[in-house]
């Protein structure tokens, strides 16, 4: 524990990316060699609307410091209306998390298309910097997980 505190804080960031847009956007960021921090780890989902609020709670419980959810731009959803569900569900969840003391900057929904490699990298850089600024997330963390460190 002592050791962890002395080291530079590297946040853990989980990014849920829609297979049809932002996952491909992340691929494009890769192909274009646009850097973003290595602590951003991407989970592929078929659509942003597949992301259950439980997954985000689980991430915070497991020790994530920030969770970002990327989907297609409104109107461009591969499944027509999926991202609208995402938008509604997440605005509800995020305000709830904020109420629980999770700073609202720790959660974010972004629309990134398959063509926006540069935007993907920019969003991730920005988000990672913000989370680093906020420091470690302690609110929802499962203490048993913390003990493992």
């Amino acid at each position: 524990m002592q050791e962890v505190e002395n080291k530079e804080f590297i946040p853990t960031i989980v990014a849920f990316c829609c297979n049809w847009c932002s996952y491909a956007g992340a691929d494009l960021a890769g192909t274009s060699r646009l850097e973003y921090p290595a602590n951003v780890k991407i989970i592929r989902v078929p659509c942003s609307c597949r992301v259950n609020p439980m997954f985000i709670l689980k991430a915070f419980q497991s020790g994530a410091d920030g969770v970002i959810l990327c989907g297609c731009h409104p109107g461009d959803c591969h499944y027509m209306t999926g991202n609208y569900y995402t938008r509604r569900r997440m605005s509800l969840l995020f305000s709830f998390l904020n109420y629980l003391g999770i700073e609202k900057e720790r959660t974010r929904v972004e629309w990134v298309s398959a063509a926006e490699g540069a935007r993907f990298s920019m969003v991730m850089n920005d988000f990672a910097a913000k989370i680093k600024e906020l420091g470690e997330n302690k609110r929802l963390q499962d203490l048993r997980i913390k003990g493992d460190r």
Partner: protein
């Protein structure tokens, strides 16, 4: 016990330069469940795939993880390799350590650490994978086209050309649609009927095409490849197989006051009638609202006069059930009602007409036999004023917010035809913008201005006053001269906005496909899938999807046919196995999942459950149709009891991925 194999690809130096692949495979070997881990220069190569196949067999692997480029690139390749070695292709997971790792990080230690976590995450997922099988569903090799206008006709002809059977369901007594009502077509000014009627005859003569006129869709069941459609054949009171189209009945019918819909109600027709001379099928129909026999029981003249014995006053609506593999919607349009536009005096004066009415007035088969006469007094109009954008681009709630697209061109056409035929007339056109994109379109409009001397006025009309002398005073603005102008006109023609045929809303509901606020059907993708509806197996042709002219409608119809043929040539359809599945024991039948499903893939079934002790219970549970579900997962999140899950992206799998990423 799972036995996982891990294969790390160097991708030449693309991955190996930044990620220590040797270290990754060494570390991963220690992971729980992993029995084999290796790395190789090019995993996607023939040799690389062979390594995978050999390992699957040698180590009896139950699942594999490939650390390589994006799954969007080579997931299919690796799945095929696994399948060849006897492993279920859905027991393969790809960790993206190129696009998401080696290419974006410079620090070797950092990239290697991330690659290890990404591979671990994929392992966590594959441990929870279940073998999935692509479903198969048979394809009924017959297509249904709803609507018999030019869109439906072209689609049917193209599908029939490829050798498939196709039915056209048309709600009116004849096919032909709006194009049959049009006099001339832009930009070539060829006669509409001359190019349309041969196509109608082709439809009638084609053995593969069955025209169900005077019929409507009653219900639709099923899904792509397997639709069952009930069609209501409305009582026509004339036997289609017996009627020869001789029209003797029409000569003797005493009821002559029915409004002639084909001529936009500008003249009358008999109660038994054939809509127009070239109608297909060339079979009479009785209008029950006008027929004296059907209303009072006393008449029967047509039956007496019909030598073919085709008249049957006791005919009832008939229901036909047919199976189809694909459905094309081609329901077309109608001009909007002008109730909200009192300023143009459409209701007050007979001499204010819509453009479609003008088409009939100019047509040789129309109410005036093609002579342009004022409806009020049958005089030759000398001053004719056209008003564009009547109800189009209107966000005030009176009209439609969209541009109807065809009005600028047909108004130029009308102006030109009138000036050509009656050079002594003065033609004025009030316009807001003239929009003429298209091959030879702007040239066409400029010809109206330059060659035919049509007076185009930039501005809009504020009011049309019917005057005591029978003329119409048109008050408008001329914006370029910054003047308010008054034009005494004999005839005012309104370029009325078009809207989708109102019946399309019911059809969209029956087909479980989506429709926008303007009643246009929604396409699957605005650029890349313009003729497919989001519902698999449903295609869109013509104005039902958005305003368009004849050439565009015909291209869209042929595109639809190509899509339908592509579907019907298949014997079986492979279905994506990564779809939603209901756990019936947990489902409480609340309908939430069906409400969010954009594809109508979820229905409800009554199912019997054993309660123990010999007792059973029938409950309503959700059922996901595997042929229709597209696998977005919207339903899985919405289910309050967590009864519905997505195969291949199950909640447990994603949770496990989350946990692995966060583990430090």
């Amino acid at each position: 016990m799972q036995r996982i194999g891990v294969f790390i690809c160097w991708c030449g130096s693309n991955i190996a330069a930044t990620v220590d692949v040797e270290k990754v495979s060494e570390v991963i070997k220690q992971e729980k469940g992993v029995v084999f881990a290796t790395n190789y220069q090019y995993m996607c190569s023939e040799n690389g795939q062979q390594i995978i196949k050999n390992a699957i067999k040698e180590y009896n692997l139950t699942g594999i993880v490939i650390g390589s480029c994006s799954p969007r690139m080579h997931e299919a390749t690796f799945r095929k390799a696994a399948q060849a070695a006897g492993l279920n292709p859905y027991m393969v997971e790809v960790a993206n350590i190129r696009e998401h790792c080696s290419w974006i990080h410079k620090d070797r230690a950092e990239a290697t650490e991330k690659a290890i976590i990404l591979v671990r995450t994929a392992i966590a997922k594959v441990l929870l994978n279940t073998p999935l099988a692509e479903g198969e569903s048979p394809v009924t090799k017959r297509a249904l086209v709803i609507g018999g206008g030019i869109a439906g006709i072209q689609t049917a002809l193209d599908i029939a050309e490829a050798g498939f059977e196709v039915d056209i369901v048309e709600k009116n007594a004849t096919i032909g649609g709006r194009m049959a009502q049009i006099d001339k077509t832009f930009p070539t000014l060829d006669c509409s009927a001359c190019i349309l009627t041969p196509k109608m005859v082709d439809c009638a003569q084609n053995e593969k095409i069955d025209i169900l006129s005077y019929s409507e869709i009653e219900s639709v069941q099923g899904f792509v490849g397997n639709f069952t459609v009930t069609i209501r054949k409305k009582a026509r009171y004339v036997d289609e197989n017996k009627c020869t189209g001789c029209k003797v009945c029409m000569q003797y019918c005493p009821s002559k006051k029915g409004l002639n819909e084909f001529n936009m109600n500008m003249n009358t027709r008999t109660a038994i009638y054939i809509p127009f001379a070239q109608a297909i099928p060339n079979v009479a129909v009785i209008d029950p609202e006008q027929c004296i026999k059907l209303k009072t029981g006393k008449c029967g003249v047509c039956k007496l006069k019909c030598s073919a014995g085709a008249i049957n006053y006791d005919m009832k609506d008939e229901f036909i059930e047919r199976k189809y593999g694909a459905i094309v919607v081609a329901t077309g349009f109608k001009p909007i009602d002008l109730d909200n536009f009192n300023e143009y005096a459409y209701k007050d004066s007979k001499d204010v007409i819509t453009s479609l009415e003008l088409e009939r007035l100019m047509n040789a088969a129309g109410p005036t036999n093609g002579v342009l006469l004022r409806p009020s007094d049958n005089a030759h109009p000398k001053d004719i004023t056209f008003i564009q954008c009547v109800g189009s681009r209107d966000v005030s709630g009176c009209g439609k917010p969209y541009c109807s697209k065809i009005c600028c061109m047909y108004t130029a056409k009308h102006a030109m035809l009138i000036r050509e035929k009656y050079p002594d007339t003065r033609v004025h056109v009030f316009y807001i913008d003239v929009r003429t994109p298209g091959k030879n379109y702007d040239e066409f409009y400029r010809r109206a201005v330059e060659q035919y001397d049509v007076d185009y006025i930039k501005g809009m009309v504020g009011k049309v006053f019917p005057m005591a002398n029978g003329k119409l005073l048109v008050q408008g603005s001329n914006l370029l001269d910054n003047e308010q102008i008054f034009i005494e006109s004999d005839l005012v023609v309104l370029a009325t906005a078009i809207e989708p045929e109102p019946s399309v809303r019911k059809i969209a509901t029956l087909l479980a496909t989506s429709i926008d606020t303007n009643n246009f059907l929604t396409e699957a993708h605005p650029k890349l899938r313009p003729v497919e509806s989001p519902t698999a197996g449903i295609y869109l042709a013509g104005v039902c999807q958005g305003p368009r002219d004849i050439p565009e409608t015909v291209s869209m119809a042929s595109a639809c046919a190509a899509k339908v043929i592509g579907l019907l040539v298949k014997d079986k359809l492979k279905t994506n196995p990564c779809i939603a599945l209901t756990n019936e024991n947990m489902c409480n039948g609340c309908s939430q999942c069906a409400n969010v499903c954009a594809y109508g893939a979820i229905s409800y079934i009554e199912k019997e459950f054993r309660l123990g002790g010999g007792k059973t219970e029938v409950r309503r549970v959700s059922y996901v149709n595997p042929a229709v579900c597209q696998g977005c997962g919207a339903c899985t999140v919405t289910c309050p009891s967590g009864a519905i899950d997505l195969k291949g992206f199950s909640s447990k799998q994603i949770m496990s991925e989350v946990e692995t990423i966060c583990k430090k």
